[in-house]
């Protein structure tokens, strides 16, 4: 077990290093730079600015320095927003994105699971068809359309909800729903097919033949087995909804982390590109790790051992 954890940790660090290195050199290859503007800077002034951020040094040295400060947990200053650090940007933005993500995730889980279960139990009934039509919408309509539609109806047309910004519960409703649409649909479909499969299993027949009530059969035997694949999907899902969505946060004016994944690249804000990439990658790996741990609890057949120990 300890050995497994250590190997896992080491492989995560190695993967992170590869990601950092690739990102670092790729972003220096793309044309432009953080201080290229329409109004050209006089060369002497550009020299002052580049010296200030050590951008005048050779790229390999910048890379080594970056790794050096990264070890100390310092992600550097933003080149675009003077006076702000990447650590500060993540510290400010992540709690907001995570709160919104938690709302979206709870909605997706509650509604998605319930819909999936009901669909499976009422297989080919009208409830099933309705749920599957709705989930097809959730699947195929991109979130900027969902977001735009919600805003048009509830903010522009009906005027029930504020159009944008963050801080009140009313302001969280639309972005949470827009963010939840796709995962809700995915969870509903996954849950439905898992349930349908489980309900066909021999042990279900055994349970029924033992004389257990239908309720006990479904809740105790079917659900637990059907939910395991959902847990697999939860790892990457949590990582993506908690770290913010560019589209949803931009449309609803949410001061989260999502915007930086895209804007940092068009701004050539090198340190922010690296910072949010590292943060997202580390978070994703950690979530996947948690998922693997969860299997041990959910499925007694799974044990955390090194392959050689088998």
């Amino acid at each position: 077990m300890v050995k497994y954890l250590l190997t896992r940790l080491l492989s995560m660090v190695a993967a992170l290093w590869v990601i950092i290195t690739l990102t670092f050199f790729m972003m220096h290859i793309i044309p432009g730079g953080p201080f290229a503007t329409e109004r050209k800077l006089p060369p002497e002034i550009l020299a002052n600015v580049e010296a200030h951020y050590h951008l005048n040094e050779p790229v390999w040295k910048q890379y080594a320095d970056y790794l050096g400060s990264l070890v100390h947990g310092d992600l550097g200053p933003s080149y675009k927003y003077f006076g702000r650090t990447v650590n500060g940007i993540i510290r400010d933005g992540f709690p907001v994105s995570a709160t919104l993500g938690a709302l979206a995730l709870s909605f997706a889980l509650l509604v998605g699971l319930a819909t999936g279960i009901v669909s499976a139990l009422r297989h080919n009934g009208w409830q099933d068809y309705l749920a599957m039509v709705l989930s097809t919408f959730g699947f195929s309509v991109p979130n900027f359309i969902v977001a735009g539609l919600l805003m048009y109806v509830f903010a522009y047309w009906l005027g029930w909800l504020p159009a944008a910004m963050w801080g009140t519960p009313q302001q969280a409703v639309m972005p949470a729903l827009a963010l939840a649409a796709l995962p809700t649909a995915i969870i509903a479909r996954l849950m439905r097919s898992n349930m349908l499969e489980v309900l066909q299993q021999d042990y279900m027949r055994t349970a029924r033949s033992k004389g257990l009530s239908e309720r006990a059969v479904v809740w105790r035997h079917a659900l637990r087995n059907a939910v395991t694949p959902i847990v697999t999907y939860l790892g990457p899902l949590v990582a993506s909804v908690f770290t913010g969505s560019f589209v949803v946060e931009t449309i609803f004016g949410i001061p989260g982390l999502g915007r930086y994944y895209v804007s940092s690249i068009s701004d050539r804000d090198y340190t922010v590109i690296l910072g949010v990439t590292i943060f997202y990658a580390a978070f994703l790996m950690f979530m996947n790790f948690l998922v693997d741990l969860a299997y041990v609890i959910l499925d007694p057949r799974v044990k955390l051992v090194d392959r050689k120990e088998l």
């Binding site: 109004r39 002034i45 319930a114 139990l121 735009g148 903010a155 522009y156 504020p162 915007r259």
Partner: protein
């Protein structure tokens, strides 16, 4: 289906509980204050910095202008007028400016504003370690350029505090724009004590101090900067707004919805798709303001066939600009037949553009003739031409219109090349293009801010064009003729050369469509410098 229903109820109620819980810890940062003297304004972008020495963007300048005041401030009609300085003397040779500062000026923390604060602010902007991108706005001052370029030191910069309320500045050459520049953010004073104690004073509301009409109380990045009236401002009695909030939500469609449902009462960037409809509907909230800026196309003169002025003239003459502004951009822009936009004073105080007039006329027959003279009769043998433009705004639609006009009028093959902003800037500066779209807005209110762009090797030339007569005229206007009416004559002449040689062709002079509630009074939306001036603003009926 009782089980399903129960589950559904459970689900929704759980979600509702969660929302409520979160609401409890979220706090309320949008509750409007009880005062109706409140402006909720969307500048369109998060400011890059609110440090006056480092700021370059328009939203940044607008917010700083609310929190700061320089020696002068532009008045309602657009002239530099007394700010922290009540009066000034200019020496007969126009090289020495002596500013007399008001004695009742205070910082938002109560400290007095002194002449030394200006010396500190200007030297800080020039200090190479500050890495200010706009340091060159101070290069008019003797010794400033040398200090910023590490060829001299701070003591060589000719700005000094004669006493607490007298500031003396020496310029390298007469510069009529200098007085207006003292209202520009790079030339703001700083409260030296605060800046010394808190290196990051400008990064949050905690230590932010200004000497202007408003005072920052909070700053949530990409959300909102809240300001209130600054009680220490020397003219606080005449500041009528209680709250001035800069809502930094970036998406313009979102801003539009926020304006519609009352979260905003003033929005600078109207979505392009809405402009025509708002204009047609005579919406009382919708205004189109003039802007001193030019939309133009650069020609890469180092490349065949664009190295031939006749080809460039033919291309310029074969564009129907009226059609572009009525059918494509649709916001009452003016077709441009010269480079410097209207709004700049000429020698006698009249308009520079009006005096200079138009330098060419659209004429398809003449364009075809020029093209034939250049060796491409009927467009025959003319290589395919590519138009480079950046994504966003309606650059694509404008390029498509021009592509169609050139193909139809000149029978040449034109392709479009769209690039992301940084890639576009990179290709333009490396002359890796045929024709490229561009825009230019002034740094200061003097035509030189447009006219010196195309000198040989100039950083913003980016066409490869070089003309000794043009260079000589610009040089003369900046040195021997500086500060005299002859400088304007030089610039008129230089513009004529530019518009005959045509390394660029102007397309139109910009406008700025805005949405502002009619009850907002005395909000000044000037044609350059800042998006809006709120010093005199109030909410009326």
């Amino acid at each position: 289906m009782p089980k399903g229903k129960k589950l559904f109820l459970l689900t929704t109620s759980l979600f509702a509980v969660l929302m409520l819980l979160l609401a409890g810890c979220g706090g309320n940062n949008t509750a409007s204050s009880s005062s109706n003297q409140t402006i909720n304004y969307a500048p369109g972008d998060e400011p890059q910095t609110l440090d006056p020495a480092k700021a370059t963007g328009l939203p940044d300048a607008t917010i700083i202008n609310a929190a700061f005041e320089g020696l002068t401030r532009y008045d309602k009609s657009g002239n530099p007028s007394p700010g922290i300085a009540t009066s000034w003397d200019i020496s007969p040779d126009k090289l020495t400016y002596t500013f007399h500062l008001r004695s009742d000026a205070k910082w938002s923390n109560g400290d007095p504003v002194t002449a030394q604060n200006f010396v500190d602010g200007w030297l800080r902007a020039l200090d190479p370690a500050t890495a200010s991108e706009y340091a060159y706005q101070l290069y008019y001052i003797k010794g400033a350029e040398a200090y910023n370029e590490k060829k001299g030191d701070a003591s060589g910069v000719a700005v000094k505090a004669v006493d607490d309320h007298t500031l003396q500045v020496q310029l390298t050459a007469p510069a009529p724009q200098f007085l207006g520049l003292t209202s520009f953010q790079t030339l703001m004073p700083i409260d030296g004590q605060v800046v010394k104690a808190h290196a990051d004073w400008a990064a949050s509301a905690t230590n932010y101090v200004g000497d202007g009409p408003f005072k920052m109380v909070s700053w949530v990045p990409h959300q909102e900067i809240k300001m209130v009236k600054n009680p220490y401002y020397w003219d606080a009695a005449n500041v009528k707004l209680d709250n001035l909030n800069f809502i930094t939500v970036e998406d313009d469609n979102t801003q539009y919805t926020m304006f519609k449902n009352g979260q905003l009462n003033f929005e600078y960037n109207v979505p392009l798709a809405q402009v025509a409809q708002l204009k047609a509907g005579n919406n009382p909230d919708f205004k189109i303001m003039p802007e001193a800026a030019t939309y133009f196309y650069r020609f890469n003169v180092t490349k065949k066939p664009l190295n031939d002025p006749r080809v460039r003239q033919a291309l310029a003459l074969a564009i129907n600009r009226e059609q572009i502004v009525t059918d494509v951009t649709k916001a009452q822009q003016t077709p441009a037949f010269a480079f410097v936009p209207p709004g700049f004073n000429d020698a006698n105080g009249s308009d520079f553009r009006q005096n200079g007039g138009d330098y060419f006329k659209e004429d398809v027959a003449q364009a075809q003739k020029l093209l034939a003279e250049a060796g491409y009769p009927g467009g025959k043998g003319f290589p395919a031409l590519s138009i480079l433009y950046n994504s966003g705004a309606n650059h694509q639609e404008v390029a498509e219109a021009i592509q169609a006009m050139w193909q139809k009028n000149l029978n040449i093959n034109v392709t479009l090349h769209n690039e992301e902003w940084q890639a576009y800037l990179n290709d333009m500066s490396k002359l890796n293009y045929d024709v490229a779209r561009a825009g230019w807005m002034p740094d200061y209110m003097y035509p030189m801010t447009f006219m010196d762009m195309f000198v040989t090797g100039g950083g913003n030339n980016e066409t490869g064009w070089s003309n000794p007569d043009y260079d000589a005229l610009i040089q003369k206007a900046k040195t021997s003729d500086a500060g005299t009416p002859a400088a304007f004559a030089d610039m008129h002449q230089a513009e004529k050369i530019l518009m005959t040689q045509m390394p660029i062709t102007p397309i139109y002079f910009y406008t700025q469509p805005v949405l502002i509630k009619p009850e907002l009074k005395d909000v000044i939306i000037p044609p350059f410098g800042v998006q809006a001036e709120f010093r005199w603003a109030y909410v009326g009926k």
